[in-house]
Subunit: 417 residues, 2 copies
């Protein structure tokens, strides 16, 4: 079955690659319309998924994430309309010129071909990924969380009917409509047809893909993010940035998990931090040096445990460690970080540049919250995923990350000497 | 042992990433000098490798490829001096700007970190890869063909002594100095330290890496390349391009393996092709339609066998197939090609553009030989490998392909709203 899907997707990708931006936008507008016009079927499928999930004891928070209603569906349709407004990277020339051989050469942006995406039980991601793939002329094979397979199936059928209205094949966007996990394993081996695989989910899914997939994989999304507070930063400014990085959305991968505090300012800074964190409801996990200083303030504090530097809290918890100097901070980040987003707070230009150069993360911040690592915030207009590997794309992936390039060479009976 | 190598490489990579272009070039110049000054040890190790290889029955052609002498070593050293002259991509800004949030953002080119390369028994590749990695601030772990492990070890020790003269760690360039294949399997799992893996070798090695490696892999180097001869091309011009694409270096991955001939010109073209190929000593493997027409000429011709469209000949053999039209040619290329290099010979602008857009290969040629797919020919100044996958790099990989980017964001206590 997966083999048939792969074949259909590859065939569709050839057709999608030849569409103009205007043609692709017309398809996207029809998809947006049809998501609203055919909402009844999607909502009915969603009701079934919800009923099953409730019966299986899914938490209210997760049920809410899974749930669609007319207003949410309209929001999803509006997001598709927004994708129409984004600039299309396909066809852009990256570089080129005339070679000594007389050959005229160009590096031209082209779609990747077929993109596979494995994601959690969020019905909006189905439409989101499909519209970004279509905008860039890619076919998509989607495997959403097993709790939403009916919703995803119904949604993709609406998208397929819109595609067919424009004479495009249903193979352009396909969902794996089954909760069977074995199909995921099959998808991972579909390198004959799938050009890129994006897992969006927890560390376990990323590990599975890295170990089992024969398709090039983009891994990321796990963020153990740090803020290092250097000697020269004002206390109030530091607290403002820290509160934002921790509290603005604690469950996000770009929220801060560990503060590294220069020992020269620890005596003044840590009691004030404790004060503020108590107000904000943040629980602190302190190393031996910071523990007594934090305990001078009212925050809930306990000694940090083994492994707590290496995992995301994704909650109102924050590790605090006193470091001797910036080198110790950088060494900590190298050892415990996930190369996602790390920040320095400093007024010293040399410290700033050294941190930027030596911290090997997708996004490195000077005097700013780590919460900006996001396609929308970075001006990409969209976000397919956040990559923490180094090949192909790093950090937030916009439309460009859904393309590759092709060398095109024009000659006149040109031969190699 | 591999784990220790990985750790040392990662540590070295942090130091290499901070070097200026001038500093890196000074190291490269010392490496070039030392390869000449310390040639005795390298040549002695090479003699031992050669003696073993001869005893194991290696062919004279392969022995020659393995063999070093003072002249070849000087050539290798000169290649290192040439790498000094290449532009350093590290530190370049890809793009950037000021965001609505007030954040000033940059996308800055940075080294990948640690690059692993697995290659055949060619001692020059050791120095070539090491110098390209150093030029781009990357550490390298090298595993050359098992028949050259002593030569590679001696060569890398010379490189390491040059590194240490400049205060750089030996971990920056390391060779796996053992013919044990189990170490390759260990290297494939070293994702904790190695950022990119480049296999240079046959289809089997690429398959092994794709299936077993947990490190992002660049695969490529297998070229089943096609030339499609459209209705409007002059016979002599076509023969000139075909002879170049087949004969200029038959063992290269960018040499042509299959001609696809439009049926409208088959009657005139194929007897002339047979005439010319007989002169050039090229044996033809013909489909049912082309066979009788080719047999009108003097070339050695036999019927093409199952599977022969799908493999590289790498010799003076050439498949010939008559196709109904360009669509059939494109369908053939999609089914049998390896997305390496494919060409159309046509005087019709519409045919040219349609072929360029619909053939999904790393390099697509109009009216030129496929033999140009090469880092040097494409003006990249160097070639790390030729990628036929779509992630990260496609076609000939120059220095840029040994880099990634980092998002750097400067704020002033900037927080997300």
């Amino acid at each position: 079955m997966l083999d048939e899907m792969g074949k259909a997707a590859k065939a569709a990708s050839y057709q999608l690659a030849t569409l103009s931006t205007a043609e692709k936008n017309r398809v996207l507008m029809t998809i947006a319309e049809q998501l609203e016009a055919q909402s009844a079927e999607i909502l009915a499928a969603n009701q079934q998924d919800l009923a099953d999930a409730r019966q299986n004891g899914m938490s209210e928070a997760l049920l809410d994430r899974l749930m669609l209603n007319p207003a949410r569906l309209k929001g999803i349709a509006d997001d598709v309309r927004q994708v129409c407004r984004l600039a299309d990277p396909v066809g852009l020339l990256i570089d080129g010129g005339r070679l000594d051989s007389g050959l005229r050469i160009e590096r031209r942006r082209v779609p990747l071909g077929v993109v596979g995406v494995i994601y959690e039980a969020r019905p909006n991601v189905t439409v989101d990924v499909a519209s970004l793939c279509l905008k860039t002329g890619n076919a998509a094979i989607l495997r959403g969380g097993k709790e939403t397979y009916r919703t995803n199936g119904a949604t993709v059928r609406v998208i397929q009917s819109a595609l067919q209205q424009h004479g495009l094949p249903a193979g352009a966007v396909q969902a794996i409509e089954s909760p069977d996990r074995e199909l995921v394993n099959q998808l991972l081996k579909l390198d004959r047809y799938v050009d890129m695989l994006i897992p969006r989910g927890g560390a376990g899914l990323h590990k599975l893909c890295r170990e089992q997939s024969t398709i090039p994989v983009i891994t990321g999304g796990i963020g153990v993010c740090h803020i290092y507070i250097d000697v020269s930063y004002e206390l109030d400014a530091a607290l403002k940035v820290i509160v934002n990085a921790k509290k603005q959305r604690p469950s996000a991968c770009n929220s801060v998990e560990t503060l590294l505090v220069n020992q020269a300012i620890a005596d003044a800074f840590l009691p004030a931090l404790s004060q503020r964190m108590a107000q904000e409801g943040v629980k602190l996990h302190a190393d031996a040096l910071s523990l007594p200083l934090l305990q001078q303030g009212p925050a809930e504090v306990e000694a940090v445990k083994a492994g707590e530097y290496d995992d995301e809290w994704l909650s109102l918890d924050l590790n605090v460690r006193v470091v001797k100097d910036m080198d110790e901070a950088i060494a900590h980040i190298r050892q415990h970080g996930t190369q996602h987003s790390d920040a320095i707070l400093t007024r010293d230009t040399r410290s700033a540049e050294r941190f930027v150069n030596q911290v090997d993360s997708s996004a490195v911040y000077v005097n700013a919250s780590t919460r900006f690592t996001d396609g929308g915030q970075f001006g990409l207009g969209a976000e397919v995923a956040v990559s923490t590997q180094k090949l192909h794309a790093r950090g937030p992936m916009g439309l460009e990350a859904l393309t590759t390039y092709k060398w095109v060479a024009y000659g006149d009976d040109t031969v190699r000497a």
